[in-house]
Point group: C2
Chain length 213, copies 2
Amino acid sequence: MSIQFSREEIDQMPQRYRATFINSLGGFKSVVLIGTKDKNGQENLSIVSSLFHIGANPPLCGLIFRPDSVDRHTLDNLLETGWYSINHIHPGIIKKAHQTSARYPKEVSEFDEVGLTPEYPEGFDVPMVKESAVKWVMKFREKHDLEINGTHMVLGEIIQVVVPTDCIKEDGFVDIVSTETTTCSGLDSYHTVKPGTRLTYAKPDTWPEEIKS
Amino acid sequence: MSIQFSREEIDQMPQRYRATFINSLGGFKSVVLIGTKDKNGQENLSIVSSLFHIGANPPLCGLIFRPDSVDRHTLDNLLETGWYSINHIHPGIIKKAHQTSARYPKEVSEFDEVGLTPEYPEGFDVPMVKESAVKWVMKFREKHDLEINGTHMVLGEIIQVVVPTDCIKEDGFVDIVSTETTTCSGLDSYHTVKPGTRLTYAKPDTWPEEIKS
C-alpha cells in the first residue's frame, strides 16, 4: 500500500516533520567530515551529507551549505584559507562525527570536543581526520549562492588523496565497503552497506553483466 | 597500510582508471531513475547518481548532468516541458536501471527497451516508474551551467510524492532500508544497506543517543 502527498500536504506538515520527511526521501547520501582551519590556526570539523561528484578530469566535487547552520564556521574557514579536507566516516566514529553538528562556539575545536585527531598531510596546512580511512585535501574553486533558498554551493578540486592500499582494485575502483564507509539517510540515520553488484558498461542490444573482482 | 596520491599522480592516471577512482572516492551516492517525456510524447528514462538535497521548505533537490552524456535527452526533455520524475531503485530492477545508461537513440523509450513500466500520476503528464516504491514528481526551477567543467546543475521542486504507507515513521522519517532502496558506489556498483543507527539531535555538552523506533 502506498500513500500520495500533494505539495499542499507537504507544505502543511509541521516544520521538523517536513524536514525529516524530505531529507529522507532523497535516498542514501554521502556523509563526510569537513576539516578546516581559520587564518589564526583555529581548527574546525563538521559533518555534511551533501557531498556530490562533479567530474573526474579535473577531479571536482561539490558541497551544499545551509544559510544559517553550524556549518558556517566551515564555510568561513574554507573561503578564508582556500583549503579543506573531506574524510569518510565508519561505524567506530559515527557518534563523534554526528556530535560535530552541535552548535559549538567558533573558538572551540570540534576535534577536541568530540575526540577525533587532527592530522596534517605533508605540505598542507589543513587538518584531516586521523581516524578516517579514506580522505583527501580539497582546494576551494567556486561558491555559488543559490537564490532559490539561500543555500551556498561550494565547488573544489581534489588535490591529494589517502586510501588504504588494499581497497584499490585493478581498474581504479575503490572498495568502500571494505573501509566500512558509512552512508546517511535523512538527518540522523547512519548505515553501513552490503557488498554490491558491479555491472559492465551498458550498451544498446546487450545486457550488462556482473563484474567479478 | 595507506597510499597517497598527489594531484600529479591523479592527472597521470589513464582516463578510465581516473574516472573509476574519483567516482568511487566520493562515498555512497543516491542513485535514481529520471523519467521524462518530450513535447511530442516520446518517453525517456535515465539513471543518475548525482541527486542531492537542497532544502525542505520549499522542498528542493538538485541533479548534475554531464556535458555530453546520454542524460542529455533527459535534460532536453525536462527543460522543454518543465517536468520530470525521480524514482528510487531496488535490487529487483538494478540491471534494468543500469541498462538505461546505454546510448539509445532519442526516438526509443528506455522504458520499453529495458522493460520498466511508465505510470502517470493523476494530474501530471510525466512518466514515473511503476516498479519503484518511492518516487516523486519534480517541477524544473533553475539550470546553472558550471563553467568549471561544463556540467549542468538542475534544481527543481518536489510537487507530489508516493511512498509505501508502512515505511513512514511517526516523526516523518521514511525508512528506505525497508524499501530496499539501492545506493551506488563509483560508476557501476549497486548496494543495499544495513539497518541503521538513528542519533538524537546533537547539542554541546551531551552525547547523542540512539533513537529507538
